[in-house]
């Protein structure tokens, strides 16, 4: 007994190995638990990554397909299948303007009910494997078709009409990448085909799309994969990075275990010391009591404590019996509480709890001590409660908000804790739902606004980001203000009041308004206003859903323009084209000639009047036919703009000279102002001449006094020249409301104009179309009674053959002004306007200058800027007849150069002997009126040959 080891030693011997073993086991268990937990956490994490990829892909695929389906349901597309006549005017434009995904140049095609393509956009890139796969699903079954293969994605939507597919809209995406926003996570996600080809990669730099991926050869990678459709979605991450967040725990763990071991050792030692000391004292007392054979005198301290305990105990029993009744009520109250109630003493022994508290502890297998230890630090530190999460397998996470209060006795001593927990799971869920909706509204792609109607100024109470973007104003500038003046540029107050009244009456309003962006540009806003009511059904706010529809508006306007143009042109074609052919022109020239011949015969007054009316009508008819022929060509797309070198200055002078004759007859002077026009330029001289002639002939026609100014400026630009041309007159002018329509077909300023001035009204329309064909612009300004100015701007190119001489007007006179015909320059001397037109018509393409009588002819030869090769001379003219003029030319009065110029007589007197008289007077040849194109062309060819052979000798 004496040799037994001391209690202290025994305790230490017994506890030390166990503590060491337990610590080691704890180290092992905690270590493995951490690893397992980390691994399971990683799996969950990567599963989430993979899920987010599939969810995103499916959602975007679904959204794209639905969008395609919406377009296929557009009434314009459906109408296009029915309206075979005119759909070419709007369907291609519509299809070209579609943008379905962010991907550029998405191939898109429209098919008819039998699967034959009607319209295609970029379709040539679509692989052949997709040619025949969708037809059955879409055209027969009327369902949306989506196919994803290694070569791309095909989506086809039926165009439905009353339960059957009348066509289909099909799109193709080359890669899945356009369907997935890059995921924001540290791992890599791949979509891999069965054959191992990467269809989609979130890190194309590491794993390029289209390359091969071997999932078995990925050691050193944490890899998660799950099937999606026919493919595998893989999420992978290097192991070192995957576990990086748990590696640091290992040293911490070892240090903690060591600390636990040391403190356990120390505690064991202390406990052993204390217990052995008290036991020794007790042993001494017991020995003492035993020796005195009576109870040892009660130790004062202990006796008092025992006494106190006894008294306290007795009192407690009394109190308890007294409190029993109120205690039951108290218990009912705390069990009815919705909150969890836990009361513990300072050792965390449970003193009191309610049913909910008890259930909670059971359910989550927590002891009060565990619960308090998990909470007490957070709570006391923050001093304001603490929210904790509790979860069990297959159950929703429970959120509890804890409030801790100290438990004090009457003396104010701190004897424990009162813990009250409130289940706030539902409240959090509600808050979360509200947050989600708020975010949805805030980040919606359409603008959303809320206006407070209960305040008289109707201030904006809320706007989302899309609305900020749409208007260009920041929230701070918008909220709290009535923004109507700021935003609604083009809306009258009256209209706004009407809409407001409708909304305040509880009706939903939809409208499209033109609004002004902060940067000043105007845009169209498709606006839907919905009144919002409170619980008492009183309208307090209205919600505005706003969308910038400028693009659609523009597209619709273009469509409408295109359609109107198409319809108008088609009507015209059907009405005129049938009857107006090129061949009509020639017989009309014949009619001219014959009428002219008839005029020369002996007529009574009545007959002469009839012939004069007939000639006038024929003249009008010819003009109309020419215009309509040009117009039909333009409308039929047959008119092409040619490119030839020509000298602008020369052309301008000729045109002006041509019209000068007519204008001077009315005492109106044409002034030509040219700047930098002595350039050889490349363009379509015939058409430019036609445009200028149209403008000039109008100016002459509508100007009774004053002058006409033609100003032309040729400016050098980066890729050629810019011709700015203005024709100003001092004529009758055009009323401002008619200005827009002067370029329309068959439009003169008013119908009475046509009666007074004749013409088809097509000239300006043709000019406009020609200018547009050349990529230029035409416009008009006018003040009624003061005159009009037509301005044309055309782009011209530099000459194809710059080595040709240019600039100098005298040398350029010898240049061919246009390409069409011969170099022959003809002076046509003819007093009769109709005959001049006939000859000009028949000699189209030749360079013709006109003189109205012999005197003018000699003046042209002497002072004119042109060098003539040949003269066509009428015989009978006022002032100076053809015979006299010929005699003077041959006598050298028009200069030595022209003494031997070929002079061809034109006479209506087709009688024998005429020819002889002409030749006697010195004329070179003779042609009788009326002549056909063939006759005059033969004559010209004959003389051209003679002239060129003479020149070459």
């Amino acid at each position: 007994m004496i040799h037994l080891p001391s209690l202290r030693r025994k305790i230490l011997q017994a506890t030390l190995p166990q503590i060491a073993l337990l610590s080691f086991l704890a180290l092992l268990i905690i270590g493995s638990a951490i690893f397992i937990a980390a691994r399971s956490h990683l799996s969950t994490l990567h599963e989430n990554y993979a899920d987010s990829v599939t969810v995103n892909l499916e959602r975007n695929l679904d959204m794209t397909a639905r969008q395609l389906h919406n377009i296929a349901s557009n009434d314009l597309v459906i109408n296009g299948l029915i309206d075979t006549q005119y759909r070419d005017y709007y369907l291609p434009l519509f299809i070209q303007s579609l943008q379905i995904t962010q991907a550029p140049d998405v191939p898109l095609a429209l098919f008819n009910y039998a699967g034959h393509p009607l319209l295609e956009k970029n379709w040539q890139v679509v692989p052949g494997e997709f040619d025949n796969v969708w037809q059955n699903d879409v055209l027969q079954e009327l369902s949306l078709y989506t196919e994803i293969s290694e070569n791309g994605i095909l989506i086809a939507a039926p165009i439905e009409l009353a339960g059957a597919a009348e066509g289909a809209l099909v799109m193709y995406l080359k890669s899945l990448e356009w369907l997935l926003n890059a995921p924001l996570n540290p791992a890599t996600q791949l979509v891999v085909s069965e054959g191992g080809t990467i269809l989609l990669s979130s890190r194309p730099a590491l794993y390029p799309q289209g390359s091969y991926f071997d999932s078995t050869a990925q050691s050193g990678q944490f890899l998660y994969q799950k099937p999606w459709r026919d493919y595998q979605v893989i999420s992978l991450e290097p192991i070192t990075s995957a576990y990086s967040n748990v590696f640091w725990l290992i040293p911490v763990l070892i240090v903690s275990i060591a600390l636990v071991l040391i403190s356990a050792l120390y505690s064991a030692r202390l406990a052993a010391n204390m217990s052995s000391a008290s036991l020794r004292r007790l042993h001494r007392n017991l020995q003492q009591a035993a020796r005195s054979s009576e109870l040892p005198p009660r130790h004062p301290e202990k006796a008092r404590e025992l006494e106190q305990i006894h008294q306290a105990f007795t009192k407690l029993i009394q109190d308890v019996s007294l409190l029993s009744l109120s205690n039951n009520q108290f218990s009912d109250v705390i069990h009815s509480m919705q909150e969890l109630l836990l009361v513990v003493d300072n050792d965390y022994q449970l003193l009191l709890t309610n049913q909910r508290g008890e259930l909670f502890l059971q359910k989550y297998q927590l002891s009060p001590a565990q619960l308090f230890q998990s909470l007490v630090q957070d709570i006391t530190e923050s001093n304001a409660g603490y929210t904790a999460k509790y979860s069990r397998a297959n159950e929703k996470v429970l959120h509890i908000s804890w409030q801790l209060a100290p438990l004090q006795n009457k003396q104010g001593e701190f004897i424990g804790h009162v813990l009250v927990g409130e289940d706030i799971t539902e409240r959090l869920q509600l808050e979360y739902d509200i947050q989600v909706r708020n975010r949805a509204i805030e980040y919606a792609s359409v603008g959303m606004t809320i206006v407070k109607t209960s305040s008289p100024s109707y201030p904006l109470e809320y706007v989302n980001q899309a609305f900020e973007q749409m208007t260009g104003y920041r929230k701070a500038e918008l909220i709290g203000n009535n923004t109507y003046q700021m935003l609604c540029a083009q809306t009258t107050q009256q209209y706004a009041d009407k809409i407001l009244a409708k909304v305040l009456a509880g009706k939903k309003c939809e409208m499209t308004l033109q609004m002004r962006h902060k940067d000043g540009r105007l845009y169209y806003n498709r606006l839907s206003l919905t009144p919002l009511v409170d619980q008492d059904n009183v309208i307090t706010h209205y919600l505005g859903i706003q969308q910038d529809v400028t693009a659609q508006h523009e597209a619709a306007r273009h469509l409408e323009d295109a359609r109107l143009r198409a319809e108008e042109s088609t009507q015209l074609k059907s009405q005129f084209l049938a009857s107006m052919s090129h061949e009509i022109r020639t017989p009309i020239n014949g009619i001219y000639g014959m009428l002219e011949a008839l005029k020369e015969t002996r007529l009574n007054d009545k007959q002469a009047r009839y012939v004069s009316l007939a000639t006038e009508s024929t003249s009008n008819l010819l003009h109309i036919i020419n215009d309509i022929l040009d117009f039909s060509k333009i409308e039929a797309g047959k008119l092409t703009i040619e490119q030839h070198d020509f000298n602008l200055a020369v052309m301008l002078r000729k045109i002006v000279a041509h019209y000068q004759v007519e204008s001077r007859a009315k005492n109106v002077e044409i002034v030509l102002l040219e700047e930098n026009c002595h350039q050889l330029v490349c363009g379509d001289p015939v058409r430019i001449r036609q445009i200028i002639s149209n403008l000039l002939s109008n100016a002459v026609k509508f100007t009774e006094q004053g002058q006409i100014t033609v100003s032309a400026t040729l400016a050098t630009t980066a890729d050629g020249y810019q011709l700015s041309l203005a024709v100003s007159d001092t004529g009758i002018g055009i009323a401002s409301h008619k200005l827009q329509s002067v370029f329309s077909m068959f439009s003169q300023a008013d119908i009475s104009t046509t009666r007074k001035f004749g013409g088809t009204g097509l000239g300006l329309s043709i000019s406009q179309q020609l200018v547009e064909l050349m990529g230029g612009t035409i416009g008009v300004e006018s003040t009624p009674g003061e005159g009009s100015t037509f301005r044309v701007s055309i782009t011209l190119h530099g000459p194809k053959n710059p080595q040709l001489p240019d600039t100098d007007s005298t040398t350029s006179l010898t240049l061919r002004e246009d390409h069409l015909h011969s170099e022959l320059k003809i002076l046509l001397v003819e007093d009769n306007e109709i005959n001049r037109i006939v000859a000009t018509e028949l000699l189209q393409g030749y360079d013709i200058t006109i003189a109205e009588d012999g005197e003018q002819a000699i003046s042209q030869l002497t002072h004119g800027q042109s060098r003539f090769d040949l003269i066509l001379m009428d015989c009978h003219m006022p002032v100076m007849d053809g015979f006299e003029a010929t005699r003077r030319i041959r006598a050298g009065q028009a200069g030595e150069d022209y003494q031997h110029i070929p002079i061809i007589a034109m006479t209506a007197n087709a009688m024998s002997g005429d020819k002889e008289q002409c030749l006697e007077q010195g004329m070179s040849d003779y042609i009788s009126k009326p002549f056909s194109t063939q006759e005059i062309t033969d004559m010209m060819n004959k003389w051209q040959q003679k002239i060129s052979s003479t020149t070459s000798i």
Partner: protein, 402 residues
Amino acid sequence: MLLLVRLILLSVVLVFGRGSAQATEQPPVIIGLDADMSAVAVEGGKAIKQGALLAIAEINERGGVLGRPLQLKIMDHRGNPARGINNIKTLAEQPNLLAVLGGVHTPVALAELPTIHEHEVIYLGPWAAGTAIVDNGYTPNYVYRLSVRDEEAAKVMLKHASQRGFKTVGLVLERTGWGRSNLASLQQYSQDYGITISHVSWVNWRQKTFIEEIQAQTSANPDALITVVNAPEGVMIAKAVLQEQPNIPIISHWGLAGGSFASVLGSEKLQQLDLTILQTFSFHQKRQPAVAARVLQAYREKFDSQASADSIRAVVGLAHAYDLVHLIALAADQANSLSAPAVAEALENISGYAGLIKHYQQPFTRERHDALYADDYFMAVYNQQGGLTPFTMNTLATGDGQ
């Protein structure tokens, strides 16, 4: 002379009539029906089919055509021109084809013209009214119509508007060849009736709302609207009108009657509208009382024992098809051939035929391929049963036939 011709014709008919009894082995003669049987103008297609079947039953009862039974082959084009063209090609391959009856839709008929003439198929128009279907520029022209002609329809609608004292009208037209055909005619003749066109709205097939357009129309302040649309678009327009401008009178081309306009819109809404609609035939009109009674009786026996004079939907299609089938059968018998040029010539020379719609002096000539003109048309209103009864100024006085 006339008597002689009649005797010869009679003997031909007798010879073939007698022959028919023992010649039932011969393959039947086919009349094709190329119409919308299932999409947007089903009532029109059904009425045309019924009219054709009634005539065919009568013809077969008296011995058929060329002594052979006559049969109807139905092809559905659903209002889609592409399907229609395919139908004409299929029918043209039939060895015993006499002619093809068309359907309600002008755009389909217009699109089929090249195929019709390429295959030399006689095309009988019992409905589609586009002027250019008949005035198509083809020589020979194989299209014959016993129906409304838009050019004439415009006159009737404008005249109706003028009689009711309207000065300005807004036009609502479908965006197809049919709509354009009517725009041309309405613009051409409006002045003649002292009427100004205030605004033109175009409607797409399957458009979803007409509210903005009706607002635009309203702002031009017209006395009435003239509409040229089919039933589905008609319903959409009617709803918009009821919402925005319920009192404005609507003068409608007959496209509404080709589909289920009345049944879809519903009796209540129909009664709120001031709507008159162009028609060519009604069992109420007693132009040919004996024929009408006979056909109505046959209709009751064959299709609907409860049918009344105004209960048959799209009745114009029935009447047109009935007269057309009789006329083409008569022409084939007179030509003694199924060859299109021969039958066409015979068709152009029929004189004095007592049809269901009227007594035709000469239904067609070489130059005139339309059998009905403005004098044959009238305006009608929907009664409470959704049937159509002729409009009179009295109807107006007693409240639109309600």
